[in-house]
């Protein structure tokens, strides 16, 4: 099975993606990750204004069968949360790189993005 892996963003080994827009980084989980999880039925996210740290769990995604932590690809303050996921968590399955995004972080150190995997490197990891 092949998965979408857009090359306009970077990836965590733990399957989150990070898309830079100026000083802000939008974060979600990969197509591979949503497929592995199965039907997503619940998403727990931090509040706007919370601080997250690279590599630390910022929330939880629950599918019918499992509970998984999701990890911050960069450090910084949460500036936006996709509250639509609280009522429609299935968007994580349907559009993981678009409407299924999870949060935006005002990155304190943009260099942290350089530590993440490129799309090609991520594809190699999940292949």
């Amino acid at each position: 099975m092949s998965f979408e892996t857009p090359d306009d963003r970077k990836y965590n080994e733990s399957h989150e993606w990070a898309l830079r827009d100026g000083d802000t980084v939008r974060v979600g989980i990969s197509d591979f990750a949503q497929d592995e999880l199965g039907d997503v039925v619940f998403v727990e996210l931090p509040d706007v204004g919370d601080e997250v740290a690279q590599g630390e769990a910022f929330g939880v995604v629950e599918s019918i069968k499992a509970v998984s932590d999701v990890y911050a690809p960069v450090s910084g303050e949460v500036t936006a949360v996709n509250e639509a996921l609280f009522d429609a968590p299935e968007q994580v399955n349907e559009d993981p790189f678009g409407d299924g995004w999870m949060l935006e972080i005002a990155a304190v150190d943009a260099d942290e993005l350089d530590e993440l995997l490129t799309a090609d490197e991520y594809v190699d990891q999940v292949a």
């Binding site: 099975m1 199965g38 039907d39 039925v41 619940f42 727990e44 939880v60 599918s63 509970v67």
Partner: protein, 367 residues
């Protein structure tokens, strides 16, 4: 240790099944997705490969006596082709396993029984049966047939039509009442077909010769293949227990009365654990298994603490999920009897945060 595989392991993989270790067996957990499969069973029909379930056949002149002494229900109430749900308990009345006991429709001169222990329990149960047989000096045969039979479950409101069409004596099969079975020819194979199931829907369980598994499975071409993931969400909505999770004789020892399946206990029969269960029935249970629904956002999961409204831990979630049919977070938990009435307010501790919950009558879903 290598996992045991059902006869159609390769076939399931070809159609995109993913697998899990279940009781030492590598079983399909999901095909098209749990929600899709779950909805197929609630609204139309689905087929499950449940070949991991054990099958033990008990025959001979004293088969009835042996079955009666080792299961909590009354096997003498069974006519050929009947089946019953029963528990297997120890001297303390603790559930060791739950099972369906079939009295074979094609028995010989004396009754022959087939019972279905949970996955990976058949060695243990054969040992239990043979040890007690020898101790009591009974004349009975005990044979493990687990790897001679595949087992499929065809479940859902349209199950009867599909099984009728696939079976040579289809009209006889379609007229089976709940918890009865007959022998039938499916795709040229001699099968035991029983109107039983574990999903809360109408349906059938098919005991199929191992070598004929592919032919019988193919006879249900077009029926949604379903994995153990959907089986779990379906059975939980129906308030049915999962061995190893809702009871486990070492980690979570429970009696049938605590587990809400006291109807399987016939105290006017003699069986191992009877006296303990009679005493418990007279005294009443301290804790009971209840249905719970989360009011706050979150999902109850196996192992989560249950507290009262003051924050005192009073129990533990044994099973939980987001119900695909009800779209509500539901679970099962043992709680003190005085907190077991429907509408009692509780809390479930989800990742260190107490979430509001309420006791709900079981089953959550009834067709």
């Amino acid at each position: 240790m290598a996992l045991r595989t059902p006869p159609l392991r390769g076939r399931h993989e070809e159609v995109g099944g993913s697998f899990t270790d279940f009781g030492g067996w590598e079983m399909p957990v999901e095909f098209a997705g749990i929600r899709t499969e779950h909805e197929a069973v609630r609204e139309a029909v689905g087929i499950f490969d449940v070949s991991h379930m054990g099958e033990i056949e008990v025959g001979g002149p004293d088969a009835t006596t042996l079955m009666q002494r080792l299961t909590t229900n009354d096997v003498t109430a069974l006519s050929p082709g009947d089946s019953q749900y029963a528990c297997i308990t120890d001297e303390d009345g603790v559930i060791l396993d739950d099972t369906v006991v079939y009295r074979r429709p094609d028995e010989g001169e004396t009754p022959t029984y087939l019972f279905v222990p949970n996955a990976g329990h058949e060695d243990w149960m054969v040992e239990r049966w043979t040890d007690h047989r020898d101790e009591w000096g009974l004349d009975a045969t005990v044979d493990d047939r687990t790897e001679e039979y595949a087992m499929f479950a065809v479940q859902g409101p349209d199950a009867v039509e599909h099984v009728r069409e696939a079976t040579e004596n289809g009209s006889e099969v379609a007229s089976l009442s709940r918890f009865t079975a007959t022998t039938a020819t499916l795709a040229g194979a001699d099968c035991l077909v029983a109107r039983t199931g574990y999903t809360g829907e109408d349906g059938f369980e098919l005991v199929v010769p191992w070598d004929d598994a592919a032919d019988v499975w193919d006879a249900f071409d077009g029926v949604e293949p379903c994995g153990l993931g959907a089986r779990d969400t379906l059975r939980l909505e129906a308030g049915l227990l999962l061995s190893g999770q809702d009871f486990q004789h070492e980690e979570n020892p429970r009696t049938p009365y605590e587990a809400g399946i006291g109807f399987t206990v016939k105290l006017d029969t003699e069986f191992v654990g009877r006296d303990a269960l009679e005493a418990q029935k007279e005294q009443g249970v301290d804790e009971k298994l209840v249905g719970i629904r989360l009011v706050d956002r979150g999902i109850p999961r196996h192992g989560y603490d249950v507290t009262d409204t003051d924050g005192e831990v009073v129990g533990t979630v044994t099973s939980g999920t987001m119900s695909p049919t009800l779209d509500e977070p539901i679970g099962l938990a043992y709680v003190p009897t005085d907190l077991a009435s429907p509408e009692t307010r509780l809390r479930v501790v989800v990742r260190d945060r107490p979430k509001k919950a309420v006791v709900e009558p079981l089953p959550f879903y009834e067709r």
